[in-house]
Symmetry: none
Subunit: 422 residues, 2 copies
């Protein structure tokens, strides 16, 4: 069993100008792979303080895992401190320099002289290549076998480096065996306490695997955690629990692990041989954006008409001027007309429309900030509507409205088996 | 000047099941009040490790500021460790016990025996009353004058205790006067190393105010930090530095502090009396979404046509079938036609179009994954185009493409003073 402490480097994180999400991700991943995380630390861009911190960590634990401070600017001092902590000078790592030069060439940019500093690494270290950025990571070893691993602070560079390079290195070095394996079941349209009532007895009785609930704002996940010697063994322990949970959650369950709600919707629309699209006012393209984020969405998603101005609702979605004048843009009638208009103008089987008041201005007593009308036009020509009012500021209202729209689409698809496509 | 380190106690935060927002808040508040924060740490519910950590902190700094672990459950061991670190036994604090009993009475609940433990505090400490919860906070002093302050982990209890009790105590004890005030200048379309070259001499020479660079993926901020006795004094120190920086950054500078790139664009479009819209393929509504996120965007933004399917590009944006057949959807010609189509169909002065290959499928040797064509149609009918290739996965490409689109719009607006609106 290996023990480590996590060190986040950077004044911005230390002083709270940036929220540290890296150490949360790293701690979770390490715990899942059987590494004991004893402590987490955050220091500013100060080589002496980082050096003192690393010395302390290497007294208590097998190693330190650092993120941040590998960039090309003069305030990136991590490597100097690490070199001192493990007693190794920084030397030029030619393959990393060449990889960086190649990367710059590929994107048609000239590499600045100060980028070269990123290719200097502690002598004898294990290099962790960075296919998603310029600065390589590394694991530097002290003579006594204690280690300091360094990864970039940019999450999209750090995460794959951790999963594909550092964790395999840790597994090999510490012969990690029993680890925690997880499966996450995603739900939508059911609250935390409702869900709790459905699974409470399992929550109390199960030991290994055990289950936990995790609320993400307006969606709840159920996580199944098994301590096992291998993924295969864990999967066998997890499978019957997952099946029982899916049965209890019913149509609110939409997928496992990496599956997104939009991804589950795209898969269902494809499975039915349908196409779909959106007509958005207050959500302003956010629903379309979530759908297009799904690889392969083009097999079912045809497009969206973001009709933010009223006369665009008329010219591109055929909402009548009379409707807009008599009941207003934020109304059931307008939502229905938008959904129908999207279905015909985009040439899709299924269309969802949103129109609402995101704020901060524009609310009235009858139509307060947070009010959103939804309409779903189905392949059989029928239109369902829903009125919801969301709390929070403009960003909250728009975010909740776009997730609610996906939730409505999901539940429409669950009920759609009997309806033929046009 | 006082120096402290922040210690967050609790296994949930250490292992990443809860995101630590407390230490971010505390670090900001302390910095604003002139307290130097040297480091932040997170430990689990383990009294020995917390004790060892506090010993280290009190060697390096004037004091430790802890949150969490003051509850009534058996894993709340903070006070034992603190008592040992400062060399004081825990003794019953009668006024706190009476306040707790009163609080329970008030809410009509019976106080459990284990709640009483919350009223045991290190001998001789300064008590920080907790009007928002049961557990009081405290500042325990060691014989040499070093201190350990403890507050609850629940943010709505911790925040007022920090503001109303702990910070006043620190101000008095350390006769704090000066504090750190900041201003952030946002840039777009310029890389970290380019920017570094333009401001490196200031970075090296300035002491107070000093400057720092902060990269957010594809955008870089320059932060100016002034240590001063008041906001007014700080503003006077910051103003000339900000002016010099803006001059050097030129048109890549788009705003200060809370200003977003989309917000700066909306303001510029409104200032010119124009309207604008987008035609999106690979970005799939992400550009529109960022613009609609700006409060008051409706004064200039009319909408977007997300034409993900090819024939929607034809039916709603008037891209000719011949163009799509001969040069394909991802081409300069298609981007131009989309931008012109958006300008006429949405009835806007200015329109930007995107068409590209987000991946993971669909790339070829000539049109690799990451290739995106942009076109901007201007009020005078002219269309500019740009071809870019972005690294990374589907999410990276789409994210970078939508920021690049805003960057192009921004630079187009900067050059637009002489062009009349239609």
């Amino acid at each position: 069993m290996a023990s480590v402490e996590i060190v986040t480097v950077g004044t911005e994180i230390l002083l709270g100008h940036l929220v540290d999400t890296n150490s949360v991700h790293i701690a979770k991943q390490l715990a899942d792979h059987g590494v004991d995380v004893f402590a987490k630390h955050s220091v500013g861009d100060n080589a002496d303080r980082l050096f003192a911190m690393l010395e302390g960590v290497l007294e208590r634990a097998d190693g330190a895992i650092c993120t941040g401070g590998l960039g090309s600017t003069v305030d990136d001092l991590t490597k100097d401190a690490v070199g001192r902590a493990v007693g190794r000078p920084l030397v030029l790592h030619e393959p990393s320099l060449r990889a960086m030069e190649e990367r710059f060439r590929q994107f048609g940019r000239v590499m600045a002289e100060n980028n070269k500093r990123q290719a200097y690494l502690p002598e004898g270290c294990v290099v962790l290549p960075n296919p998603h950025g310029t600065a390589p990571g590394f694991v530097a070893l002290r003579d006594d076998g204690k280690f300091v691993a360094c990864m970039p602070g940019v999450p999209r560079e750090m995460k794959p480096m951790l999963a594909e390079r550092l964790i395999p290195w840790l597994e090999q070095r510490f012969a990690l065996r029993s680890a925690i394996y997880t499966k996450t079941l995603h739900t939508v349209g059911i609250g935390e306490s409702d869900l709790d009532r459905r699974v409470e007895d399992l929550f109390r009785s199960l030991e290994n695997p055990k289950i936990a609930m995790l609320a993400h704002g307006f969606r709840v996940d159920v996580k199944i955690m098994a301590k096992a010697q291998s993924r295969v063994e864990a999967d066998a322990m997890i499978a019957p629990v997952a099946e029982e949970l899916r049965r209890r959650i019913g149509t609110h369950y939409f997928g496992d692990d990496e599956t997104t709600l939009a991804g589950a919707i795209v898969a269902q629309v494809i499975a039915r041989g349908w196409t779909f699209g959106t007509a958005e006012s207050c959500t302003g393209g956010a629903i379309a954006d979530k759908i297009v984020a799904v690889p392969g969405a083009s097999a079912a998603f045809r497009g969206s008409i973001v009709a933010y101005a009223n006369d665009v609702k008329t010219s591109l979605l055929d909402v009548s001027e009379t409707t807009l004048e008599t009941v207003g843009a934020v109304s059931e009638e307008t939502a229905i007309a938008m959904a129908r208009g999207a279905r015909s103008r985009l040439g899709v089987d299924l269309a969802i429309a949103t129109t609402g008041i995101a704020g901060p201005e524009g609310g009235t007593a009858e139509k307060p900030v947070g009010l959103v009308w939804f309409a779903i036009a189905s392949p059989d020509g029928e239109v369902e509507t829903r009125r919801m009012t969301f709390p929070g500021d403009r960003a909250d209202v728009r975010d909740r409205a776009s997730i609610a729209a996906l939730s409505l689409l999901w539940h429409r698809l669950q009920a759609a088996d009997a309806i033929p496509a046009r």
